[in-house]
Symmetry: C2
Subunit: 347 residues, 2 copies
DNA sequence: GGAAAATGTGGAACTAATTCCATATATCAA
DNA sequence: TTGATATATGGAATTAGTTCCACATTTTCC
């Protein structure tokens, strides 16, 4: 049984004090200046490092936050994690990471593992809330926060899809567009299929009667959008809005291949990330979701619960980042927004 | 001092056995079938969960692997992490994640923190190895593996840049190209600036005397490459190879804006990721580094060290993924590789 | 039949910290 | 000069497990 090189006991003996005194030096103070100096020297000399497990056994605080993510290989998740870490690390918390691989079952298993590990709180970027999720949030003694999904019974944080749609609608209205095609996904996806679309309609049509929005249904992927692009061409709107950036990218590529000039002949806009859209030509105007900020908010929220302040202090509005680039024409000005000096920013 | 709901003592009392017996039930066996049943029932009834910290205090094994990453918001890192997790999780290990924000100082600090946390091993996707890194790998009692950097004195894993360059060189030679421009970065970056470039030259010129390679130096970013594109045009090669995908993308965009047709008039190729390159038009042919595989190899390597098998079993070759898309013309066939049915795969 | 080996079991020690409690001074007001 | 309070300090208990050791059975083998 290989044991720890230097323990608090060794330090105490070398400094000529008791273990309690060393512990007090390490924690709350209540120690004379004289002994303080002795202990400091002894710690320096021995290179003492406090044993994490012994400490946690007694204090029942791990300073560890469990995080369950649906996947790791997406920019979205990376940004989210980046935001979480940015808040947690300065507070002395560290993250334990588990991946659910988009499976609800693995998600619940991961939560269980984390709870057993003794994490102080759990943050789940959930793929779908079940009754079990809600039961745990109530019965387990530790704070649990869900992101990506919404349920009034638990702590959660989600992007405001309706607001995002609305924002885009207002922008296109202000740019003088009157006839749009919304290339969206099935309504079975409540957030993207319904909230985002209806938000867009509201923003686009607000305060006028001469606006028109047509719908074309596509899948979530690039290719499916590409295949629907011909149909959109037939409708011949002044602008096409893809419900996700992938959709917009598929449409953009179709236009490229057919020699349809964007935005001169037709404008294109999207929703989502902000990496891919920046390098295509023309760069895609989009409502970007600031996942990094979302991560920061989620982490702050969690810390608040942890401190018993019950999340009142945190502003939970999830601001959207409107990224105006080159793919939408301003019909009010009748000038081309492109020139070689206004290159899109790369991430 | 709020204490644990159910401890091993409670289980022992309920089952009418000693603590030792319950512990044996939980671990190595050596318990009669009769008591085994009793203990099982007691555990079920009480919902007992073993205390992580108490267990680890005695066993000195955390089943936790510390990971230090330079940043979180890049696809590259996401893939790496994805690969690591894929190997570690089935083995019962979990990851603690820390971010160095591309700073060597924070990287060392993070390693220190992880060591204090009592992780079983540390994996560092390093931004640069210092003497301190090497000292720690030797002096700390726990296995440390560095990726992204190379040093014979420590365990490390790195992509073979020379091989990647060579691969691309051979491909372009086989496609019938004779005059290339290599748009590269400064030689102060050994991996990208020297190894990759020289590998390319070797592969491109191999076995012939009529090949010519010109160099144009750019920065790492999109914009800097874009600004050098005019100079490349003056040289008028049949193919431009960017040392990274960002460089290729910048060049591609310049060509687009000037109406230079790719690959009909000039071919373009790159090195690196495989996400962005797929959606531009034309899709970029590239040597992709399989970071996910690298993560898996790194994790396996680490597990081997942990088990004392000292990394002999693992095959450390880092295979490269050649992604042939649309941006390079086959001069041997004199046909255009593009048509609307051969769309690039989206990730 | 009896020694030797295998199989179970409980008690106590141990892991490395924190923290409660008792006690010893030192400071200060009455 | 007391008594009361504040400041320091050490000893012992506590945290929840694992593991060593002693001892009691039972089984095996000569």
């Amino acid at each position: 049984m290989e044991q720890q090189k230097v323990t608090i006991k060794d330090v105490a003996e070398l400094a000529g004090v008791s273990k309690s005194t060393v512990s007090r030096y390490l924690n709350n103070g209540y120690i004379s200046a004289e002994k303080q100096a002795k202990v400091r020297k002894a710690i320096e000399k021995t290179g003492f490092q406090s044993n994490f497990f012994a400490k946690r056994l007694k204090t029942r605080e791990s300073k560890l936050i469990g995080i369950v993510l649906p996947r790791m290989d997406s920019v979205t998740v990376g940004k989210l994690l980046s935001g979480i870490t940015r808040v947690l690390e300065p507070e002395g918390y560290q993250s334990i990471l588990l991946v659910s691989q988009l499976s609800q079952k693995k998600e619940l298993e991961s939560m269980q593992k984390l709870q057993q590990q003794g994490v102080d709180a759990i943050l789940v970027d959930s793929v779908g809330l079940t009754d079990e999720h809600i039961r745990r949030a109530k019965e387990w003694g530790l704070p649990i926060l869900y992101t990506g999904q919404k349920n009034a019974a638990v702590h959660c944080l989600k992007i405001d899809d309706a607001a995002a749609g609305h924002r885009m609608g207002v922008y296109l209205r202000q740019m003088g567009h009157k006839h749009a095609v919304f290339a969206g996904v099935t309504e079975s996806d409540e957030a993207v299929g319904i909230e985002r679309k209806e938000g867009f309609m509201a923003g686009f049509c607000e305060g006028r009667t001469d606006a028109k929005v047509d719908f074309v249904e596509t899948g979530f992927d690039f290719l499916s959008a590409y295949n629907q692009a011909e149909e959109i061409c037939k409708i011949a709107p002044s602008v096409v809005v893809g419900a996700t950036d992938n959709i917009s990218l598929g449409i953009l590529r179709y236009f490229h291949e057919r020699g349809v000039k964007v935005p001169e002949e037709i404008s294109v806009a999207g929703f989502g990330g902000y990496d891919v859209g920046a390098v295509v030509y023309p760069a895609l105007t989009t409502v970007a979701f600031d996942y990094e900020l979302m991560g920061m908010k989620a982490a702050s929220y969690l810390l608040n619960i942890l401190r018993g302040e019950d999340a009142k202090l945190t502003n939970l509005d999830m601001p959207l980042l409107f990224v105006e680039r080159e793919s939408v024409q301003n019909l009010m000005k009748k000038t081309l927004p492109i020139n070689s000096t206004s290159l899109p920013a790369m991430m």
